[in-house]
Assembly symmetry: C2
Homo-oligomer: 186 residues x 2
Amino acid sequence: METADIYKVIERMAALIRSEERKRCTELGIQIVHFQVLDYLSRCNKYSDTPAALTHYLGMTKGTVSQTLLLLERKGFIRKVPDLADKRMVHLQLVAEGWEVLRQAYPKDLFNKAAEFLEKNCPEVGDAPFIEALTALQKAHQSHSFGLCGTCKYFTTKPEGFFCGLTGEPLTKSDSEKICQEHTVP
Amino acid sequence: METADIYKVIERMAALIRSEERKRCTELGIQIVHFQVLDYLSRCNKYSDTPAALTHYLGMTKGTVSQTLLLLERKGFIRKVPDLADKRMVHLQLVAEGWEVLRQAYPKDLFNKAAEFLEKNCPEVGDAPFIEALTALQKAHQSHSFGLCGTCKYFTTKPEGFFCGLTGEPLTKSDSEKICQEHTVP
DNA sequence: CATTATTTGTTTCGAATCGAAACAAGTGTT
DNA sequence: AACACTTGTTTCGATTCGAAACAAATAATG
């Protein structure tokens, strides 16, 4: 009874955050979708920086995503880099202008201020409940949870360092902190 | 250091929820904004069911909101009712078809399933931290927090029942559970 | 009480977005 | 070699978006 309400509260926060982001995007002359794309590209890992992954992440059709990317490219926010192994694929990279717009659109002040109030009001509250809630949500969402690499079922630690159990590739600490489209909740 | 990250986690949840909502809206042939409008109208109180309030809530321009409402009216989801006291104002009401679409678009299953996982994994976690986080976010957002009537600074309890300290009007229990544009965090 | 400002909502315009479907090109399978 | 599948683009028409101009009602001012 009580637990279901948690996600209603989260939804309210989501609406508030969305509203703030929308206002900032309008001031910057971009659409809120563009912000979401830039934000995703700034956080995703090398397996997940393709138009197809974006399509899954945003829940849009690939045609629409293609158009959005075209515009972001024209505006000089992103760059397309062909994949060396698979000639169909394209990797998307944020360029300097993209990072700058992202920085300006991100409601950092709001988050910092909110965190301040929260800290003052109940200093004993840690981030544990929120991380648990996110994990549960990802588990419920199934399919592609787009979680952080380091929290994945296939993330393994060896004496030599981190590895991805799916691709077998070694991973840096930075890699482990990024969003992966293949992410699977343990 | 740790508290600021809480809102990053919340933002990730927001993105996940948004993605699910977008998919559902596409299936229903509506835009995600339409869902947001219907959702808001289903939760707001009688002081907050106007185009102007929606404009503030969504962070859009009033022209755009006007167009969106026109379409929702054409589709038979909402109805416009003129205000009796102020002839400029219009009140927006959800009609049966609107409620039905809202019900279909709302990611209830996702929330229920997530709540189930959360309950199983850490039964001791209550909704308190989440409500605190929401309150802090509303406080940080200032201006119009669009909070629940019952959590407002001007919400007062008298022997005769609930009252709004701003308008002086009596409020039912149902009123106190709705979103108000005049909401002020204590 | 008349004039002026402000609020509330609509209309109009052009650029941009959206989803659907067709398309092209590369990869994998049989 | 033929076929299916994946990946991304193009094209189309309906819709959305923000900006600015507009109309009407209310509030404020003198």
